[in-house]
C-alpha cells in the first residue's frame, strides 16, 4: 500500500432477531432509517462530527427486496446535514457488501480522494418469514440455479458442502468440529451485549449442536444450530489516512492500521470444483497475508465468515490453520476458542453475534478494532506485542466474493 490507512471509531447496533429478548416477530421493529442513523451517529460522535467526513460508503445486500428500498446512499445525508453535498456510495456484493464497503473506503483513502471515509453496512431482514427470506438471500447465488436449489437455498448449498466433507473425512469426527464451533460462537456472544445470542442461556450447547439434521423439513447435513440466524442491524467504522486521524483528533492507539487487503471474485455461474475447498477464500487470504508480509503465527485473532459451521471449518483450512480435512479436528481441539491457540470470532461471529448480511463485513472490522484498542468489554482477549495482527474474511455468496483484510494493533 502506498500510504498508511487506519480504522477507528467503530460502532455496532444490536443484532436483532430471534433470541434477543426485545425481539417479537409480531411487534413493530426499527427500520433501515433507524439502523443507518444509529450506526452512523455512533461513529460520527467519535470523530468530531460529520464535518470531518469526506465521503461515505454504505454496504447493503437486498434492501430492494427485504424493505422495497433501493438507493441507500440517499439515506446518508439524512443522518446529518453535514454529510449532504458529499460523495456517498452504496456497495453490493451479497453478504460481502460490508467488506466491499471497507475496500471501497480504503481505496479512496489510498487514492487520496478522501482522508476520512464513513464506512458502514446495514441489513433489515426480519421483514419476511424465513422461508421467503430464503428466496431473497438466494439472490447471492445464480438465479439460473434457483429452481434446482433447495427451499432454503444457501443452507442447501452449504449442506452439500458439509455432506461432501463428511463423506470424505468422516461424519462423526467432522460433526464434533461443527459442534465445537457452535459452542464457541454462543459462549463468545454471551460476552457481547449487542450480540443476537447475548441472551442465550441454553445449558447443553453440545447436545443442541449435535441435533440430527432433518432433511424432510430442512437440509440433509446441517441442523438449524449450524446456521447463522436472520438478523437486523448496522455497523459503522471510520477509514482514515494519517491526516484523517489528525483532523478527527484520534490517537493512533485508538485506531488499528490496515496493513493489506485483497478482494477476490469467483464466477457466480460456476460450481466449485471441490465442495470441500473454498478456493476464492484461500486465494484472498493468501494474497492479503503475502502483501502484509506476515505469517499465520503472528495473528492474534481472526474474524471469519461463519454463515454456517461448515463454512467455519472450510475457512480454517482455506487460511491454512489446518491441512485439508483436518479443520474440524483442529476446531474440536479448542484451538479457535477464546482461550485457544488463535481465538476466532471473539464476539460470536455470524452464528453468535448475528448476520445482518450487508453489515457483517463492517462488524468484523469493528470487532478487531475493539479487541486491538481494548474496547471489547467482557469479550476482550489479551493481545501481546509478538502477535499484533488480525485478519478478517468476509464472503459473499458461496465463496464468490471474498474480502480479506489484515490489521495491526498500534
Amino acid at each position: 500500500m502506498n500510504k498508511k490507512v487506519y480504522m477507528a471509531a467503530g460502532f455496532n447496533t444490536v443484532a436483532l432477531g430471534t433470541g434477543r429478548k426485545e425481539f417479537h416477530p409480531a411487534k413493530p421493529r426499527p427500520g433501515l432509517e433507524h439502523y443507518i442513523t444509529e450506526a452512523a451517529k455512533g461513529t460520527l460522535s467519535q470523530i468530531g462530527g460529520a464535518k470531518n467526513v469526506d465521503e461515505s460508503v454504505i454496504g447493503n445486500f437486498m434492501a430492494s427486496r427485504f424493505n422495497k428500498q433501493g438507493h441507500l446512499a440517499g439515506f446518508i445525508p439524512m443522518v446529518d446535514p453535514g454529510l449532504a453535498g458529499k460523495s456517498a456510495t452504496r456497495t453490493e456484493a451479497a453478504c460481502a457488501s460490508g467488506g466491499v464497503a471497507l475496500t471501497a473506503a480504503i481505496r479512496s483513502v489510498l487514492a487520496g480522494t478522501a482522508d476520512t471515509v464513513l464506512a458502514m453496512g446495514v441489513e433489515v431482514q426480519n421483514t419476511v418469514k424465513a422461508i421467503y427470506g430464503a428466496d431473497v438471500l438466494a439472490g447471492a447465488g445464480w438465479y439460473q440455479h434457483r429452481k434446482a436449489g433447495h427451499a432454503y437455498f444457501f443452507p442447501g448449498q452449504f449442506s452439500n458442502r458439509a455432506g461432501a466433507y463428511f463423506e470424505r473425512f468422516g461424519r462423526e469426527d467432522s460433526r464434533k468440529g461443527l459442534a465445537r464451533w457452535y459452542r464457541n460462537a454462543i459462549e463468545n456472544a454471551r460476552l457481547c451485549p449487542t450480540a443476537q445470542e447475548f441472551h442465550n442461556s441454553a445449558k447443553d450447547l453440545d447436545a443442541l449442536a449435535l441435533t440430527p439434521p432433518n432433511g424432510k423439513v430442512f437440509v440433509d447435513h446441517l441442523n438449524v444450530f449450524d446456521c447463522s440466524k436472520v438478523s437486523d442491524g448496522a455497523c459503522s467504522i471510520a477509514v482514515l489516512s494519517e491526516d484523517g486521524l489528525k483532523k478527527c483528533g484520534i490517537d493512533k492507539k485508538d485506531a488499528v492500521e490496515v496493513i493489506s487487503f485483497a478482494q477476490v471474485q469467483r464466477d457466480i455461474t460456476s460450481v466449485p470444483e471441490d465442495l470441500t475447498v473454498m478456493s476464492a477464500t484461500k486465494l484472498a487470504v493468501a494474497k492479503a497475508l503475502s502483501q502484509a508480509g506476515i505469517a499465520l503465527d503472528q495473528l492474534a485473532t481472526i474474524e471469519l465468515h461463519d454463515c454456517f459451521t461448515i463454512a467455519g471449518v472450510l475457512m480454517v483450512e482455506a487460511i491454512g490453520l489446518a491441512p485439508h480435512g483436518k479443520g474440524a479436528e483442529w476446531i474440536a481441539e479448542g484451538n479457535s476458542a477464546r482461550n485457544g491457540k488463535l481465538p476466532i470470532n471473539t464476539t460470536g461471529g455470524l452464528i453468535g453475534w448475528g448476520h445482518p448480511t450487508g453489515a457483517t463485513g463492517v462488524h468484523q472490522a469493528v470487532t478487531i478494532w475493539e479487541q486491538f484498542t481494548n474496547r471489547a468489554g467482557d469479550a476482550q482477549i489479551s493481545v501481546n506485542e509478538e502477535k499484533p495482527y488480525g485478519l478478517s474474511i468476509n464472503m459473499g455468496g458461496d465463496d464468490v466474493t471474498v474480502v480479506a483484510i489484515v490489521y495491526k494493533k498500534n
Binding site: Y132, A134, D135, A138, R146, K147, H150, K216, V217
Partner: protein, 443 residues
C-alpha cells in the same frame, strides 16, 4: 375402492362451522397430497364444502387459504419436489402461492346439499341434534348412487342410533375431532357394532395420515371425552350448590373453578372450560346423554339456569372467548356472573374471601404451563398430591375430593363399557383436554 379413490370426492356438512372448517381444512390438505401421488396423476379430486350460510362460506374460503399457506410454508421442501416440473415456479413464494391455489381449487363452496349426492365420503359436522343428523344422512343416502360412507363428528349421539334411523346399514362411523381439529391431536373413533370393518380401517388410515392420536370409544352416548367432561361438570355444579349455603353462587363458581384449575393442575378451570365449549353446547350434550342413558342424573340445574338467563359463552369466529360464566379480557377471566341479577362481579372483589377460605396453595406449587414443561412431571405431581393430603385447608380437601371423583368417573366409563381401559380415558383427558395427568393415577 382404494383409500385415495374414497378421498376423490368428499363432502363436508356444516363446513363453515367451528369443527367443520377444521375438518374441511385437514381433508383438503390430505386430498391434495393424495392427488400428487404418481398413480393419481390426472385424476380429479373434489371436496364439497356445504354450509347453510353463504357468508360463513366466504369466511371459510379465507380460512382455508390462510391455513393452506401456513402449511405450505412449513412444507416447502416437499412442495418444491411436487412442483419440480413446473419451470415457471422458481421461488418458494411462487410455489407456496400455487399450492394455496391448488388446495382451494379442489373445494367447491356451496349451500346446496345436493352436491353431496355424488360424494364417496360424507363428513358431517352439523349441530349436535340427533334428528337433524338423521334427516341429513337419509336425504343424501336415498339420493346417492354410490352408497357413501358417513363420518360423523358427533361428540355424544350413539352411532347405532344414527345408523338405524337413517337406514345406513353400517356405513357410518363416529370420527370425533377435538376443537380446533387442525391443532388438537386427539380423535375419538366410535364404531357401532354394525359399522363396516372397511370403514373403520379407512378411518384409522385417515387419522394416521392426519397424525392424530386415535382412541377407540364404544358406542355409548357421550363417548369417553364428554362422558368424563359432563360428569366432571355435574360434580362441579353440585359442589357449587353445596357451597351456596356458605357462599354466594358467584363465589362458589370462583372456588370450584380455581380448585379444578390450580389444585388439579389443568389448563383451565371447569367453568372456564364450559364457557370455552359453550354453555348451550354443554346443555345439548347433556340432554342427548340423558336421553340415551336415562335415569343416571345427567342433568344440571346450574346449566339450565345459566341458559335461561341467556348466558352461553362459546367463541367468536376469530376464536376469541365470548363472555359466559366468566367475563373475559384477553382470554382471561376477570369477572364472574351473579346469577341473581345477571351482572358480572369483578374477580378482585369476589376472590379475597374465597381465597382465604381455600387457604394457601401447597408449597412448591407450579401452574399448569410450568408443570407441562417439566422433564419429570410425574414426580412433581406425585409430590403435589402428597402435599395436598397433608394439608388441613379447605382448598386441599376439595381438590382431593374432586380428584377422587374424576378417578371414579374414569373407572365408571370402563365398567359401563364406554372405554376399553382407564388408559384410554387418561389419553383422552390428557390429549383432548390437555390435563397434566390422567384421572386414574398413582398420585
Amino acid at each position: 375402492m382404494s383409500y385415495s379413490e374414497k378421498l376423490s370426492h368428499v363432502a363436508v356438512l356444516g363446513a363453515a362451522g367451528k369443527m367443520g372448517s377444521g375438518i374441511l381444512l385437514l381433508t383438503a390438505l390430505e386430498m391434495f397430497e393424495q392427488s400428487t401421488l404418481p398413480e393419481n396423476q390426472g385424476k380429479s379430486f373434489l371436496l364439497d364444502a356445504i354450509d347453510l350460510s353463504p357468508e360463513a362460506l366466504k369466511g371459510l374460503r379465507k380460512y382455508l387459504a390462510v391455513q393452506a399457506k401456513k402449511n405450505g410454508e412449513k412444507k416447502t421442501v416437499w412442495l418444491r419436489s411436487v412442483y419440480a416440473n413446473r419451470a415457471d415456479l422458481i421461488e418458494n413464494e411462487q410455489i407456496i402461492d400455487q399450492y394455496v391455489q391448488d388446495v382451494v381449487d379442489q373445494v367447491s363452496f356451496t349451500t346446496r346439499i345436493e352436491s353431496a349426492y355424488d360424494a364417496h365420503l360424507v363428513f358431517e359436522a352439523a349441530s349436535e341434534n340427533p334428528d337433524l343428523k338423521v334427516k341429513l344422512f337419509k336425504q343424501i343416502d336415498v339420493n346417492s348412487s354410490v352408497k357413501p360412507w358417513f363420518l360423523t363428528n358427533t361428540s355424544s349421539i350413539p352411532i347405532s342410533y344414527l345408523d338405524q334411523n337413517a337406514s345406513l346399514g353400517g356405513r357410518i362411523i363416529g370420527f370425533h375431532f377435538y376443537n380446533p381439529p387442525a391443532v388438537q391431536k386427539l380423535a375419538e373413533l366410535i364404531s357401532a357394532p354394525a359399522t363396516l370393518p372397511e370403514l373403520t380401517e379407512f378411518s384409522l388410515q385417515f387419522a394416521s395420515r392426519l397424525r392424530k392420536t386415535v382412541v377407540k370409544s364404544n358406542d355409548v352416548a357421550g363417548f369417553i371425552g364428554n362422558g368424563h367432561f359432563m360428569r366432571d361438570l355435574l360434580f362441579a355444579s353440585s359442589t357449587v350448590a353445596r357451597l351456596s349455603s356458605e357462599f354466594s353462587v358467584a363465589q362458589a363458581l370462583y372456588i370450584v373453578d380455581k380448585v379444578s384449575r390450580d389444585y388439579l393442575v389443568r389448563p383451565m378451570g371447569i367453568f372456564q372450560l364450559t364457557d370455552y365449549v359453550g354453555v348451550d353446547v354443554c346443555s345439548y350434550i347433556l340432554s342427548v346423554m340423558d336421553r340415551f342413558i336415562p335415569g343416571r342424573g345427567l342433568k344440571s340445574d346450574l346449566v339450565d339456569s345459566l341458559l335461561s338467563m341467556n348466558i352461553k359463552g362459546g367463541q367468536f369466529s376469530d376464536g376469541s372467548q365470548k363472555d359466559g360464566i366468566f367475563k373475559y379480557q384477553k382470554g382471561a377471566p376477570v369477572a364472574v356472573i351473579n346469577l341473581e341479577n345477571g351482572e358480572y362481579l369483578p374477580l378482585t372483589e369476589v376472590a379475597p374471601a374465597c381465597d382465604s377460605w381455600l387457604g394457601a396453595l401447597p408449597q412448591g406449587w407450579l401452574g399448569w404451563k410450568q408443570v407441562m414443561r417439566l422433564a419429570d412431571r410425574e414426580a412433581h405431581l406425585a409430590s403435589h398430591f402428597a402435599t395436598l393430603r397433608t394439608m388441613p385447608d379447605n382448598g386441599a380437601k376439595l381438590a382431593l375430593e374432586y380428584a377422587q371423583w374424576a378417578a371414579k368417573v374414569a373407572h365408571g366409563l370402563v365398567s359401563d363399557g364406554v372405554a376399553n381401559s382407564t388408559i384410554d380415558v387418561n389419553t383422552v383427558m390428557m390429549t383432548g383436554f390437555f390435563h397434566s395427568h390422567g384421572p386414574v393415577n398413582n398420585f
